[in-house]
Symmetry: D2
Subunit: 135 residues, 4 copies
């Protein structure tokens, strides 16, 4: 059964909070990636680069709605929004106690080739069998 979404909870660490007392915005992209890693794991896949494939990010965006603070335990939901010929698109919602903290998106491409010269390649079947667009 292919997987279309994954939900993780993770606690905000002290080193992620800036001098305004809120999670630094750059960390939200890392939270989104943690959820993507969990999604792939739950689908029996690994997002880490191999000799054959790498999955560089080609776009990522967030709209920030409410701040997160030290020791908060936000939920990070990631959903497969699209699977194209060479790319996978995600939607991401980060929330705290039911309130949306941030809404984001990310697009990754499948790439292969010699190190330093990777090029987009068709999303391979072993991924298509395990990830599916959320219907």
């Amino acid at each position: 059964m292919p997987i279309s979404e994954c939900r993780i909870r993770r606690r905000v660490h002290f080193y992620e909070v800036d001098s305004a007392g809120i999670v630094h915005f750059s960390c939200f992209y890392r939270y989104m990636e943690e959820a993507e890693s969990a999604l792939w794991r739950s689908a029996g896949l690994r997002i880490a680069p191999t000799k054959e494939f790498a999955y560089p990010r080609v776009a990522a965006a967030f709209a920030f709605k409410k701040p997160l603070r030290f020791e908060d335990e936000p939920e990070v939901l990631i959903q497969v929004a699209s699977i194209g010929r060479t790319s996978i698109g995600y939607r991401c919602v980060i929330s705290l106690n039911g309130d949306v903290a941030a809404e984001g998106s990310m697009t990754v491409v499948c790439a292969s080739g010699p190190p330093g010269e990777v090029r987009p390649t068709r999303v391979p079947d072993f991924i298509r069998e395990r990830l599916a667009v959320l219907s």
Copy 2:
């Protein structure tokens, strides 16, 4: 004379490079913020929160075009794209040897109020006198 853009060069550090040998995408948002800090500094301003004002980010996005690697020295250009009642919008281009590595944008709001309850407030005059939309 109000300032509309700023250009910095900065070297890629070892700890910013991931296991695919390229700068982790989350670092691009930090590079954009470094350029914003430099822009404000060159305008005689400080982006750090004070008792009166904080400048939380409400949106940030990047499209990634080419990877950056260890010891590369990309240029980060940030431009004031808009100044609204409570928000400032930026455009950002990160390039290496003339090639665009990433194009991004960011929106910050001016906020004030008691800690933990800040609300958007009018961009104050001391900022409007020092930053101007790129014409």
Copy 3:
């Protein structure tokens, strides 16, 4: 009952792994801090700075024995090794499947005073009642 140690498990994230394929050494200090935060939480305390107290680090060290990799789930053990007049000392062992990955230590001081001018102060009783040196 005062607390003397705490054990957490946490997964290695993709963005913590460097281009040699192993967790960047600077992240071990963050793992140690995560365990310290958990220790304080389990003792009913918060390591975050307040108006009255802050807990700056005055020393931290690690000896690295074995690398950690993406998706590993190391265990981080932190123990209260000493409580002095103004400082608290910790011992830390990070291990994977029973093998020691790193052994470290950290000393923090209790500090108080106006922002930017904090000075060491006696470890307050509400902390002494909740943390105890491992016997």
Copy 4:
């Protein structure tokens, strides 16, 4: 002429400052590594792992004396303290306007072997010709 020390200046970034308003202690280890990268560059070397050699850290320590803040421009001095059969030891002093902010040390080993199974190996001659213990 072999190189024995290197001095860099670098500005504190907003995302390096924690909620106590000071540079997070884990960033000092990154500053030390930046100075090491600069030392190697100035000696005509690269600290990045290659097919033949990697340079994992086996120990790193800091004693923290004074805090660093946003937009400070500390100086980071790194010196080659020892070159053993398989390891290189550094001393590091981070200072601001002549005041010591932190004193540290780091030991790296030269390692070679198949990925995931590297073992300590003799510091090769091309490194011994370019780095020398500070006399």
